[in-house]
Symmetry: C2
Subunit: 613 residues, 2 copies
């Protein structure tokens, strides 16, 4: 195996035994459906010796079953897909060396044929099984049957995928089916990605987070990208987009998909451009279609398609502060201007839909003209394209293809709500999938924060999925730690939105942690945290010893001045002496005051300790 | 000097010469008023060789003139204060050893007298000048003249302080005066803190950020705290609160105030409790009053006073998930219950106001019953106290004392706006000063982010100052890096709010950085960034060589696939060929398409590069 091959490293267990561990929950009626959760078992209140007062807390878990990357994940969905009887195996498109990009093509003889498992013989070939691809069976009319979750939902069928996703969300499967049928949600599930654990993206469900990975011509290897994939899902990525533009594009994607428990998205125009040797004007519908089929056969679950960048919209961007900021948008703009023809993705959109429907690939309609600075937010270029995306949404739905719609980008806080309102109206409530948005432009190095602010707010207003932004945004490609920082910031934003939307069950998590905080159950606080490792290490920096984790005080105030400790005492005082709750203190309390003094006279308070005032 | 004494280290210069440097701008009519700014000189567009297209950008600067900590800062405001002829020097309250806390008292003989510059002889004594304190002159009626900025504003006088703050904000001084007179803004400026550079807190002005520092009984030294002060103001702290509860409280505060270019806030009840040996029930109005005068003489600019924690409100917290979470609130609740008497801060509020007015110390009316978890947000305990704070605001205003009002805490996103609306209504538009709020409870280790989300949103709705939260919130005391991380997150939140409020000039900063980004002026991007060091180092991780900073591409896409580069080409193409801007492309463009191909055929785009799609 080349030194560019992935390290043999499974997904780190969420805590194999211990109080934070992975469990599988089955649908009682469908025992073959086993849905993963992170389960946190809570401890007893300190000093009571009593069993835990609260049942375990189950958290949504995206980390997958774990695997050795060279073998890939088990094909969980394969029996479900084949049992529906609507797909067939076929030989598939021949893989060519240039599928791995320009560098691969240059390294090889002209017209060289790829070896199985790697387009480029020099690339770290995928060593796992080589399944033949599936696609929809043909119908008597000569077309192909739609095999999409949208098709089944409209037909009133609850698929195993819907059932799985419903159990994950804690809702009835009928809700998933109905939201899919209405186009208000998607369940990305390419028939060639059986390894994925089904999930649903829509405003009635938990807000989801996408993590972008992918190499470029100057950085990164296949191994790095597979490692980032596992790392991202460990920290909660609900989907991952592979945005590679560098060498070994095809092969990198094969490794990623075979190891991914979450849906994988791509931007096929990036690979098509590689095949056109980087010259946008040499792109063509035929080249693009071939690339789309290539990716559909590998199992890409959703693709960003910049079909809304129309020729007539391009000049609307000329006076912007930051022009066109979408890479895909710029490529299509260049093509349109070079040929003075309408965007071929727009003119061939029906044909595109037919391909998508045959594999159940979902659209992520790209916002190629999204604003790249707060100055350009909500301008005519952006809104003109949005209207076209609304039109294309309806076309896709006619083909029973699932659709979500991408959104900005850079938007100041007061213009965020309008983005969701307009998109929901213009795109007939198709799920919105936004990049941040960044609420200011002046904090390079911290754009995970500038955008987590925008993401939380746009999520509250109904955005279904948030595309994360890492600290390296605008500056470089994210490394492993950047992926984690971006993920955590976005899990925070998504959960803030879930709470604000009143998602059933969301607040249970906060309440469990807050109660643990109030009762000084430090281990429970760590285990319930979005990032247990960091919470524990920050605590231990000041008070590392084990007894500190069972002490009735913490490092901020020390043992003698802990407002949380005082707070408990007051609560106990109130309870033991029957002080009425929620009413004014009555005269009878004068006697109780004396008792309180006798009893030790300190007051309960759950301290905001580092800056309590 | 003991090893606990501050390191001799000046404020790091913002860039003494170079393109990012400190400048002073004078009011043409008042040349003695020199207001500091960070000025960023912009470079030319790459490859043009032309002079900068844009004038320099001036940013608000809180870092102060820099000093050697052992000498303190020059007393900038001293001539302004004395020239008003309303204050007099006096001997001041004798400093006692117990002013430095319980540990100091235990170390010393009973009743020992402090040496000048340090209450505790074992503490690292303040070696700078020992000015006699100032306070308001008496009037013929036997009271003291109010010397507050509110008093002058109501009288129609524009003080030097108001003029300074107005120039800093970029507004006319009449606006500052009128906002102060209406109570909608405060200008914290104790006559005994002449070192401070005047600033104004109010919803019509830039949103401000407070940084908390302070030791506790288990961590930190005087040197650490002075270092954190300078570090916090370097990163933009508009005010700093010293929340020390550990040893050397009095002496630490002396070092901090003498070195602080920003207003200093405290919570006097913390020190009073130290003097009461940590027993809330032993507190008394007399002890508190003595502590307040002690701090007024040192120059504390504003104090948190938990006068709204009334006896009858305490039981309202008993059923909460997290009880009382304010340390000050818990102390007063304990006192009320122990004595079954009304809060002495409430019953002595008029007397309190008289002391505040004599030094121009401002109130920060504390929200001792603020929620400590999202479950407790906006509950009756919180709102009952808020109504009392509204009542006390009017009392303070009758004494011509400046007032701001503190707010939560932990609030889910959808309940944030209501907090501002209610506070502004109930407290007659007195400035709101909130702690975050944290929008979720489950991310210990990342509460600078969970709360920056809430802070940005509450700032947009009209909160005047945001109290930062560091990554160590709930886990430990912040170290130097935590202070920086908290400050950056909150400068981001504050600027996001400024943009959303349409503060004049706020967007100029973003536009300057975005233009630099679009034109690949990397050095300008770094120099304009909230944190130039981090932006530069992230960029250099991938492309460290100097030429990379003048290249028309960056590390994300590499030289051949840069959408930003393409974007420029399109713009040039459009401009040079007279393509009409903002209208649909006409038929005449067919010819232009051919020209575009001849000219090289690539398209301008300012890339969202790490995850462009």
């Amino acid at each position: 195996m080349s030194d560019r091959a992935p390290r043999t490293q499974g997904v780190p267990p969420a805590g194999a035994a211990g109080p934070r561990r992975k469990v599988y929950v089955s649908d009682p009626e469908w025992p073959t459906i086993r849905v993963p959760f992170t389960e946190v078992t809570l401890g007893a209140a300190l000093g009571t010796g009593a069993p835990p007062a609260e049942p375990p807390i189950r958290l949504y878990d995206t980390s997958g079953p774990g695997s050795d990357p060279v073998h890939g994940l088990p094909p969980l969905r394969h029996p479900w897909i084949t049992s529906r009887g609507d797909v067939e195996e076929y030989e598939g498109r021949p893989v060519a060396v240039r599928d791995d990009g320009r560098a691969a093509a240059r390294r090889s003889a002209p017209g060289a044929r790829a070896v199985p498992g790697a387009a480029d013989p020099a690339a770290p070939r995928w060593p796992g099984h080589g399944r033949q691809p599936l696609r929809a069976c043909t119908t008597s009319g000569g077309g192909r049957r739609p095999v999409t979750q949208l098709h089944y939902a409209r037909a009133g069928v609850i698929t195993e995928e819907m059932r799985f996703a419903a159990l994950r969300e804690g809702v009835r499967p009928e809700i998933v089916r109905d939201e899919l049928a209405a186009g208000r949600a998607i369940l990305p599930a390419n028939v060639n990605h059986p390894e994925s654990e089904p999930m649903v993206i829509g405003k009635r469900f938990l807000v989801k987070v996408n993590a972008n990975i992918g190499n470029s011509s100057v950085t990164s290897s296949v191994a790095d990208e597979v490692d980032k994939l596992s790392w991202a899902t460990r920290w909660g990525a609900d989907t991952v987009m592979d945005l590679s533009t560098g060498p070994d594009i095809h092969t990198t994607r094969e490794w990623i998909i075979r190891n991914s428990p979450v849906p994988i998205g791509t931007v096929p125009i990036y690979q098509a451009l590689e095949k056109a040797d980087g010259r946008p004007e040499d792109l063509s519908w035929e080249l693009y279609r071939d690339t789309l089929v290539e990716q559909a056969e590998q199992g890409v679950d959703y693709v960003t398609v910049h079909a809304g960048v129309l020729l007539r919209y391009v000049p609307l961007t000329a006076e912007r502060v930051t022009g066109i900021v979408s890479r895909g948008g710029s490529i299509m703009a260049a093509w349109c201007l070079a040929h003075h023809e309408e965007n071929f993705l727009y003119t061939h959109f029906d044909e595109l839909c037919e391909i998508m429907a045959a594999y159940d690939m979902a659209f992520s309609l790209g916002d190629g003209l999204r604003p790249g600075s707060v100055a350009d937010a909500n301008d005519e270029a952006q809104l003109a394209e949005l209207r076209t995306l609304g039109e294309l949404t309806e076309v896709a739905w006619r083909h029973e293809v699932q659709v979500m719609v991408e959104g900005p980008g850079h938007v100041p806080l007061h213009k965020i709500a309008e983005n969701v309102t307009l998109q929901q109206e213009v795109c007939h409530e198709a799920p919105f999938y936004t990049l941040g948005p960044l609420t200011i432009d002046v904090a390079p190095g911290y754009d995970h924060i500038t955008s987590a602010i925008g993401a939380a707010v746009i999520g509250m207003h109904g955005t279904a999925m948030l595309c994360y932004v890492t600290p390296k945004e605008h500056l470089g490609l994210p490394d492993r730690d950047d992926v984690k920082q971006g993920m955590i910031a976005y899990k925070i934003a998504a959960h803030a939105a879930d709470l604000a939307k009143g998602h059933p069950g969301a607040q249970r998590w906060d309440d469990a942690l807050s109660k643990a905080r109030f009762e000084f159950r430090w281990e429970d606080q760590f285990n319930l945290a979005v990032d247990p490792d960091t919470a524990r290490s920050y605590h231990d920096e000041t008070l590392p010893a084990a007894p500190a984790k069972t002490a009735h005080f913490c490092s901020m105030c020390g043992p003698k001045f802990c407002s949380m400790r005082i707070s408990h005492d007051v609560r106990e005082y109130a309870a033991s002496r029957g002080i009425p709750v929620g009413v004014a203190v009555d005269e009878g309390m004068k006697q109780k005051a004396a008792e309180f003094l006798e009893a030790g006279a300190s007051v309960y308070v759950a301290a905001e300790r580092t800056r309590a005032r």
